[in-house]
Symmetry: C2
Subunit: 157 residues, 2 copies
DNA sequence: TAATAGCCGAGTAATTCTGTCAAGTATTAG
DNA sequence: CTAATACTTGACAGAATTACTCGGCTATTA
């Protein structure tokens, strides 16, 4: 229940790769493809959407690739997913692009709305920076470093 | 993004109708169909699943219908949805019925897991009783009654 | 000017969703 | 006992969505 499409998942993983490569300059589709095991053709489609949305920008020609349009802590997971999969909308009723006929007097409507807001605030609060820190942590956790705030939650299990 | 299937939605609405009809005895599929505007044939499928799961029980023959197997506050929305749509699993990786190859060292895995747990606790905490109270509230809210706890959240907008 | 790298639109196979349909079985009122 | 009521079950099918692929193009730079 409530599954995310591969497009959204791959999109987040691609953005993570671009963020991770910041110091090395633009990251190519080919690199992302190899590191995240997603086809080049599919990534083209995904990254194109994200570029048009202004989350990343591209550099063409040799030495080119993709770079983040702003710093990792300013790019939320929610922002990425919204571009690739549309707004959080548990039911079609709650999709601003569709609309609902029987809103009034519908308890379940309120229920789904509250759930949607819950999810959205989770996703909007989590950023690429958090993913980067979570990744650092996983790589070094045996050495007992200080754990970044939000990532601790990600590690309770 | 993250849409619930109609099966799950109708299932919750059907359970709400059965809960609402408690004082009148068994609720028939036909009644649910009329009140919630869902076809009888589709409801048969849905209610059958819920019956096999032990959430409702059926009474056959004239005067029959469906009744809750336990009291409304003991039936969570999460329990209903899990029967109709399987466990919360943002990605196939997190579906216990499937499994994941690349769990280790995958930050996004932790992210989706945390989101899933968040959603699940929301759904497991919300029960049919809350829906009933929310409904009462909507019917009488102009008269300034005391608002049940959880429903207040459902009314912040 | 050739190689690199992104840009773009169309198309398609597979899967999932959203139901319908037909033919039962159990129960009870009369 | 029988007719009407209601739930039970399995199969199936059309529509929509997903998850991609493919072919050809444009921009940049070494």
């Amino acid at each position: 229940m409530l599954r995310l499409s591969t497009k959204g998942q791959y999109g987040v993983r691609a953005m993570f790769e671009i963020a991770r490569g910041i110091s090395r300059g633009p990251t190519t589709i080919k690199e992302i493809s190899e590191r995240q095991d997603v086809s080049v053709a599919y990534l083209e489609q995904i990254l194109n959407t994200l570029r048009k949305a202004g989350l990343i920008s591209s550099v063409r020609g040799p030495g080119g690739g993709y770079v983040l349009s702003r710093s990792p802590e300013k790019i939320s997971i929610g922002a990425i997913l919204r571009e690739l999969e549309g707004p959080v909308a548990i039911t079609s009723c709650l999709d601003p692009r569709e609309g609902c006929l029987r809103v009034d007097g519908c308890v379940t409507h309120l229920l789904w709305k509250a759930l949607g807001e819950n999810i959205e605030s989770f996703l909007d609060d989590m950023t690429l920076k958090d993913l980067l820190e979570g990744n650092d942590l996983m790589a070094t956790q045996r050495r007992g470093r200080r754990q970044p705030e939000k990532i601790r939650m990600l590690h309770k299990s």
